[in-house]
Symmetry: C2
Subunit: 269 residues, 2 copies
């Protein structure tokens, strides 16, 4: 019998008598200060996924990082603010010591078969086994992902040389591999290192302020992906006045779009 995957430990939530959830930050996903934001996002979504009144599957999810989390316990309140026939709107709050540390909203829905035709195509890239795996170094959460950069890797020299573009493409999966689900997909949506580091080759302090994920796959499609590699792509858009944003896409190895994501990030200088 194998040990539980670290991601399952990280998103474990204990139901409380008042309908809220209690969880703990996971040392396995530690960042420079506090936890990796992708796991905080996954924990917020998990409070909806495990809610007994949930209708359908995630369509849209936005998390706002209001404060640096301290290592330790947190409380999650997920509330179905409006339930329609086939859609449901959620508001989520994460608290530590009665102080708000994150807000989030989610939309879940019962999907129906319709015309489909994804427009964001996976770029032509080498297969994962033909791309060298990045050296694992630095903070703890980076050890939890297997990354293979096709393009736009983290600068090898912090020489302050500016670049016009901040496009990154990489193959990523959990390490150890783990069958994909909505929680792990949400955590993966935050693995991109800060685009401003790529533009400037300068390690200025940063912090994600808000992240949105739109889901284009249902639970069955995610299960079919299994523990395979995903191709992730992100590119910056606006940079100024202490904030930049990026847009990104996540495809399975067969080239099916699973999710799109965006985030806005504070940077110090």
């Amino acid at each position: 019998v194998g040990a539980a995957h670290p991601l399952d430990g990280a998103i474990a939530l204990q139901p409380q008598p008042d309908g809220s959830w209690q969880g703990r930050t996971s040392p396995a996903y530690g960042n420079m200060i506090g936890p990796y934001g992708g796991i905080t996002a996954a924990q917020c979504l998990q409070s909806v996924l495990r809610h007994p009144e949930r209708l359908g599957e995630p369509i849209a999810f936005t998390v706002n990082f209001a404060a640096a989390l301290a290592d330790g316990e947190f409380r999650l309140h997920a509330r179905p603010a409006r339930t329609n026939r086939s859609t449901q709107h959620w508001t989520i709050e994460m608290l530590q010591d009665d102080e708000l540390v994150a807000t989030a909203t989610a939309v879940t829905a019962v999907r129906r078969a319709t015309w489909s035709g994804h427009e964001a195509r996976m770029p032509q890239v080498p297969r994962p086994q033909d791309v060298p795996r990045s050296q694992r170094r630095g903070v703890e959460w980076l050890q939890r992902y297997e990354m293979r950069f096709v393009e736009g890797a983290i600068p090898s020299a912090w020489d302050g040389g500016t670049r016009e573009a901040s496009l990154s493409r990489l193959w990523v999966r959990d390490d150890p591999p783990r069958p994909l689900d909505f929680a792990s997909l949400t955590a993966l949506a935050d693995v991109f290192f800060p685009r401003v580091w790529l533009r400037r080759a300068k390690p200025t302090p940063i912090g994600t302020v808000s992240m949105t994920v739109y889901y284009h796959a249902d639970a069955a499609q995610l299960a079919a992906t299994g523990a395979g590699h995903l191709l992730l792509q992100a590119q910056g858009q606006g940079f100024g006045g202490g904030y930049f944003d990026h847009g990104g896409q996540l495809w399975d190895e067969a080239g099916t779009l699973l999710a799109t994501t965006h985030q806005v990030v504070y940077y110090k200088e």
Copy 2:
């Protein structure tokens, strides 16, 4: 003395003794059923912009459309859920007859001068005066915008012919022209007709579920834009299971990126 601009009438909010706001849907921005979603978004943001405790200017804003609004009054509750030294996190709820019709979150911040360098460049397009103005027809809110399509106009024939791509580029401004501010910029972020109509040339019923705007300009930059034309661009990403999303950008006439936006939209078939 000129009459008030219809947008100012639409976003007018009356403060209530409990700290909430009361407003009304505006017939000037009527849609097929209920109001234009861009105005609902602007009203939600306005409840933050006018809040006496607001710190800084909008950085990120997400609105989730939980139910079709009825024509008439609504109540807005905006709460500063967390206030830091230079950032503030807002939760917003819009209600009609005590039923939730929209949820939103916003991040405001005091911006600081930093390195800047917008990466999403304005495409090369003809100037607004060299692009014919679209005929104004259809629902009321369309009469409130001056639109000049450079590329990807609404299909002229609903012949069911499918297209590979749904890129639209258009010059837009308020009609009558009005100096740009955060409320009008937010309303403008929703003017894109549904990308699924462009892909399929079939007018399937749709409804925006969630929209996010990231702001890359401060109030002074918006004021400097005045009542000029903005270039708006949007392109679809994923389409399937009843939902599609698009990403978009808004530039001023000089080519400065003012905002980026994304939304996910329900479609019927």
